[in-house]
């Protein structure tokens, strides 16, 4: 090879034909905008097709609606989790917070006899307060996110146990006659509208709110910037601490909505409900292509991530796979999905 050695700045690549450049530009933009979601969607489609082949009953509107109904709770929590993870944080306390909010709502309504709006307000407020405290501890005491929320994961369950006396709500001896769950909540959690459960509508509304915050507001820009490069956000005048507090408060708020919906579905609340669900939300977010180290993620990805988990559990159920094996498969799938995603990203980066 006796290519003449170029000097100075002329070391740029030889001219690429315009249309090829445009094509590669388009490909890059697709990759940059929705690559992660694309990969997850592909896996979702493969799963659905595979289950439909094995079990003809699988692919029915009824079954898909059923999956969504069951996983609406996880989705609502996962919306907040997505925002948190994009800032390079993590919220391990979402499930505990949901249990607390459901319990607070149940106790204030059924035991204390307060009006439904007050009980719902108290539920929302409790979730918001947990999120706010998480955010403040992380930013003011400079304790890593995972430690703070690991602490509140346990402590918040404790608060919920105190609130409920460790008993399911409503409890016979304490309940006001005829009261269980506030009507609006029970209605949204259990009724349908034209064949679509209201709880799916609620989850969808949460997704829209999360998407709006992330893509249409100044806070959303700050969230992406803080997760993408905290230092750069700081020198650009973005209030990093306020952004983090806001995100945890939002996560707490979404968790409280989820918790009340769950209580509605169970027609009862208790301090230990949804144990372990925080891990489901994290898995869904990561499967949906959100970078665990922040700076990149989409609500649509999380929706697909939740769907994958739901489809998988439901499909294995229909096939009669035992719960023991379901756990093994579900766990493995999480790792495989992310491994495939990483492999795809590396390949894209090489181009």
């Amino acid at each position: 090879m006796s290519e003449p050695v170029s000097t100075g700045l002329s070391a740029t690549a030889p001219a690429v034909p315009a249309e090829r450049r445009r094509a590669s530009e388009a490909r890059r933009r697709i990759a940059a905008s929705g690559g992660g979601v694309g990969g997850a969607i592909a896996i979702l489609v493969v799963l659905i097709i595979a289950f439909s082949i094995v079990s003809p009953d699988y692919l029915s509107v009824g079954n898909l609606v059923n999956i969504l109904r069951q996983y609406a709770f996880v989705l609502i929590l996962a919306v907040g989790q997505t925002l948190v993870i994009i800032t390079a944080g993590i919220d391990l306390s979402v499930a505990a917070t949901a249990a607390l909010s459901g319990s607070v709502m149940g106790v204030t309504y059924a035991h204390m006899g307060l009006p439904a709006p007050v009980a719902i307000g108290a539920g929302l407020l409790s979730g918001f307060a947990v999120g706010l405290l998480n955010g403040l501890a992380i930013t003011m005491w400079k304790v890593p996110d995972i430690i703070v929320t690991l602490g509140s994961l346990t402590a918040v369950r404790g608060v919920a146990l105190v609130v409920t006396d460790g008993l399911p709500v409503p409890d016979f001896s304490q309940a006001v006659e005829g009261r269980r769950i506030p009507d609006p909540v029970a209605f949204l959690a259990t009724e349908d509208i034209g064949g679509v459960p209201w709880i799916i509508v609620v989850a969808a509304a949460c997704c829209v709110v999360g998407w709006y915050v992330l893509n249409k507001t100044r806070l959303g820009r700050s969230i992406v910037a803080v997760g993408g490069n905290r230092e750069a956000a700081h020198v650009s005048g973005i209030n990093v601490n306020r952004t983090k507090v806001a995100v945890y408060a939002l996560s707490g708020l979404f968790a409280s909505v989820g918790g009340m919906m769950l209580a509605g579905r169970l027609n009862s609340a208790n301090a230990l409900m949804a144990s372990g669900s925080e891990l489901d939300t994290i898995a869904a977010v990561v499967i949906g292509g959100t970078a665990l180290f922040g700076g990149e993620g989409r609500i649509s990805g999380t929706v697909v991530g939740v769907f994958i988990m739901g489809v998988l559990a439901n499909g294995l159920n229909i096939l009669g796979v035992s719960d023991f094996w379901q756990r093994i498969v579900s766990g493995a799938i999480i790792v495989v999905v992310v491994a495939v995603d990483q492999w795809r990203r590396r390949r894209m980066a090489r181009r």
């Binding site: 700045l9 450049r21 507001t217 100044r218 820009r221 992406v224 490069n229 020198v235 005048g237 990149e296």
Partner: protein, 494 residues
């Protein structure tokens, strides 16, 4: 047969050509200096030899035997040892264990710590370190740690030792001791590849010099045939053509934009008096560790000022966070480009990052306005990107730095703090950034340009302040000679 032989090593990063076909042969027992400015390609070449980076093309042989690229383990097996600037010792374990890291003496899977430390003793001796191998590593000073690093390389039977700026954190006597060790090692047949930009020590310790400039091999010199001036000329080459005699476009009639009176944070930053007029560029020259960056960060509210006052356009201000500085129309470009940008965000998003409040309301961000502003500054600053939506991390260094500058044009900053903004930027882009700085000043901005490159300081500054050991020690007109300024900075001229 040469001990180390590199052929036609080429390496490019997106937008930057780091190495353009480097040939290098080093004989056993030789100390070879690798000399070049920031961004000349020294570190990239070292990383390639050590297996930490894979070149785009080229080959490497040790004693005639080909060595595969891209694997630190294989490089080590072939006898390549490297001591990086950031030392790679594990602080809480003993120096003996550090030397033998990964090659512990063990019996049936059980590490025999005592035997391991004993085995390390011979290597510690070879580098002249008279310490018990059982000593905890975090008790050692930087010079001793450096020697432990070298002992570690030797324990892996290294034949070629790479030293990257080994004296950066050493005092003079410590450096001298290191040179003695290097001589001992070469007498034992080890070849040393020595990266530095301190010319006197290169002249003292090295046998031959290889000069790199902008990724190209511009020549080898025998030590006898070169003096400092010659080496400096080779290193800098024609790249300093931008240093044309300063045109005194500035007439000190403009309003005072920024006035600092006794501003500081002793003892780290001694009180500084500073006055910059609209349209003026004040250059601050200081060697590494002189306190330049601290001054820049203090003026921008990134570090607190514990004494003194600051006025902007006659109004007293006190910055405890960058937000306040930005509101007061101050802009800041830090020395670490990576710390200023969000790589995965688009060019437009990065440009408006400090102007979010101007775009729409809190509840509805104006994305169209964002792209419009982005496009405007991409055109104005001639930022080379296929689109404003491209992730900024994919741009070349020079264009990334222009994006950071655009951010402050976008906020309408009247006072710009530029801390070594062209470090690691290729020559052409450098000139563009310089032209931009001049244009900004011509447009009425006050500019504080901090740098460790004297030529930049002289080329850009209407006035030149010299910093040393955390204080401003002298002021010069840009026409002063380099020697004068260098003497004030208390450093060795590169």
């Amino acid at each position: 047969m040469p001990l180390l032989e590199l052929r036609d090593i080429r390496k490019s990063y997106p937008g930057v050509r780091a190495l353009a076909g480097i040939d290098l042969t080093v004989e056993a027992g030789e100390v070879r200096a690798l000399l070049g400015q920031n961004g000349a390609g020294k570190s990239t070449l070292m990383k390639i030899i050590a297996g930490a980076e894979t070149p785009d093309s080229g080959s490497m042989r040790i004693s005639g035997e080909p060595v595969p690229f891209g694997s630190p383990a294989r490089a080590r097996e072939h006898g390549i040892g490297i001591v990086f600037q950031e030392l790679s010792l594990i602080p809480p374990i003993s120096i003996g264990e550090n030397v033998m890291l990964g090659r512990w003496v063990s019996h049936g899977g059980m590490v025999d710590v005592r035997a391991t430390e004993e085995a390390a003793a011979t290597f510690l001796e070879r580098v002249g370190l008279q310490l018990d191998p059982h000593t905890r590593t975090d008790r050692l000073g930087p010079a001793e740690r450096q020697l432990v690093e070298i002992a570690k390389a030797l324990s892996a039977e290294c034949k070629v030792l790479l030293l990257d700026e080994p004296t950066a954190s050493l005092s003079d006597p410590e450096a001298r001791r290191l040179f003695d060790v290097i001589r001992d090692l070469t007498a034992q047949g080890v070849a040393v590849l020595y990266v530095s930009h301190r010319l006197p020590e290169v002249l003292e310790v090295c046998d031959r010099v290889t000069v790199l400039r902008d990724g190209e091999h511009v020549g080898d010199l025998e030590m006898g045939e070169a003096d400092e001036a010659e080496l400096a000329r080779r290193m800098v080459g024609t790249a300093v053509d931008f240093v044309r005699p300063h045109e005194h476009t500035f007439h000190s009639g403009g309003d005072v934009v920024i006035r600092a009176t006794g501003l500081g944070n002793p003892p780290r930053l001694q009180p500084v008096d500073l006055e910059i007029h609209a349209g003026e560029v004040v250059a601050v020259f200081g060697l590494v560790g002189a306190g330049r960056t601290r001054l820049a960060r203090t003026l921008f509210g990134l570090e607190p000022a514990t004494v003194g006052t600051l006025e902007l356009s006659g109004r007293p201000v006190r910055f405890t966070s960058p937000q306040q500085a930005i509101e007061a129309k101050v802009g800041y470009v830090g020395e670490d480009r990576a710390a200023g940008l969000v790589p995965r965000m688009s060019v437009a998003q990065n440009i408006v990052l400090a102007s979010l409040a101007r775009l729409g309301s809190a509840l509805l961000f104006d994305r169209r306005g964002e792209r419009r502003l982005g496009a405007r500054y991409v055109a104005e600053l001639n930022i080379r990107t296929p689109s404003v939506d491209r992730a900024v991390g994919t741009l070349s260094g020079g264009n990334q730095q222009k994006v950071v500058l655009a951010r402050w044009l976008c906020t309408g900053a009247r006072f710009l703090i530029l801390d070594d903004p062209v470090r690691g930027v290729d020559v052409g882009a450098k000139e563009e950034v310089f032209r931009l700085v001049r244009e900004l000043a011509a447009g009425g901005a006050a500019v504080l340009y901090l740098t460790s490159e004297l030529r930049e300081a002289r080329a850009l500054g209407d006035r030149l302040l010299v910093m040393s050991k955390g204080r401003v020690v002298a002021e010069f007109p840009p026409t002063s000679s380099e020697d004068e300024i260098m003497a004030a900075a208390g450093g060795v001229h590169v």
